[in-house]
Symmetry: C2
Subunit: 243 residues, 2 copies
């Protein structure tokens, strides 16, 4: 899988946590209290958070992402034997103020200037997503901020990816979905969207249906990958590989 040019893209739809916003920034910001275990806590918290979404989804026991995030944090703190008064509340509040990855603002503004429609499609609740978008000053960038709460089940249920098409009133092939979570990227492709896997963490490919259209290291490569040939790369003499 390599970076390829995708034609006919009318909207870029982004996963939130891990793709636009750095979930490690919460535990890092509290590392003064957590100590050297902050990375281990962050990993365990994230791993359990995702596991709980999948288990609840498959068992038809949905609870919103705020609850699941708190329950996963309780598990992680408990596992590491961390029991400091107020730390849970502090970390949950930090989850509402995650930093975005460095290239995100410029990339989004460039795409917006080129007329690309932009959206978020995330497990997060509307309130969680509004908070992180506001914290990064991205309120005026997105045409839609879509939460799985609208369908009542977590990713990778196909209803989640279908929501992007419905709300943007676009065919799946006119949407480029971006996720740093490999399983999310593969699953979105299996639901018919076109997908670039933003492989920030240098992971090997997944072995689940189906393979994304391409892979980028971070989002800075996105504008060139989806720009219109008329005003974009071809006009500048480049010959991107076509799908």
């Amino acid at each position: 899988m390599s970076t390829q040019h995708l034609d006919g893209i009318k909207a870029c739809v982004f996963d939130a946590y891990g793709t636009l916003f750095d979930f490690n920034s919460a535990a890092l910001a509290a590392s003064d209290e957590i100590g050297e275990n902050w990375q281990r806590l962050s990993e365990l918290w994230r791993q359990k958070q995702l596991q709980y979404t999948w288990l609840r989804g498959l068992a038809s026991r949905h609870a919103d992402f705020w609850q699941v995030t708190g329950e996963a944090l309780d598990f992680a703190l408990n596992t590491l034997g961390i029991d400091r008064p107020g730390l849970r509340e502090r970390l949950m509040d930090l989850y509402l103020h995650l930093g975005c990855y460095p290239e995100v603002p410029e990339t989004l503004h460039r795409l917006q200037a080129e007329g690309m429609r932009l959206a978020i499609l995330s497990n997060g609740t509307p309130a969680m997503l509004a908070a992180v978008v506001h914290h990064s000053g991205l309120e005026n960038v997105f045409d839609a901020v879509l939460s799985v709460e609208e369908v009542g089940v977590f990713k990778p249920h196909p209803a989640v990816y279908a929501l992007a098409c419905e709300r943007l009133q676009l065919a799946p092939t006119a949407i480029c979905f971006l996720s740093s979570n490999a399983w999310d990227a593969y699953s979105a492709k299996a639901s018919g969207l076109r997908v670039l896997w933003c492989n920030r963490f240098g992971q090997v490919r997944e072995r689940i249906p189906e393979t994304p259209d391409g892979e980028i290291k971070d989002l800075s490569a996105l504008p060139d990958a989806v720009s219109s040939p008329v005003c974009g790369r071809e006009a500048m003499g480049e010959s991107p590989t076509r799908l």
Copy 2:
């Protein structure tokens, strides 16, 4: 959660991998080839195997456990940069010959002698389960070896746990389900079975619906926990805590 006595149990139903059979025994047996990474490989293989079952379940993209186990192994080998000719095939064959935990044969034979009905309820395919049962000489112990292949979806989908009731023709409250996989134990309880979590690995409790009836360290504590009061513990002068 502590060990408590469960009344009215007519059948004990066991998860297979991690509960009766030691999935680490595959990578350990090939540690001559894998080297010091064998534990890391085993963990990654298992973690990915489960992740793929949940992702496929939630996305309605079922494939059988043999395929998923092989795909998870490919991911794990790839991630660790292990590429030795024949090793994949060797490990997959070892997965058909996993060892059982030390207390398993005696525990099962004791339960059988006391008239308890015994079954397996597992993600494994019928062929995979037949192989590990045979390898441990347990062919004549189980009344039923049930595979999720009968319902076409992985745990923790409620249809899996319902299968045990259907096939054993027992009410869920007459079944004691045993799993060392905490998420499996909690999910079985949420599906109405009575459950003892066999917490082999000393994990903290999960934060998902619903809490098992009790917790044991390994299966050797099981016969006393489910024995009939008439011929069991009370006749011997003990006073187990009742639920």
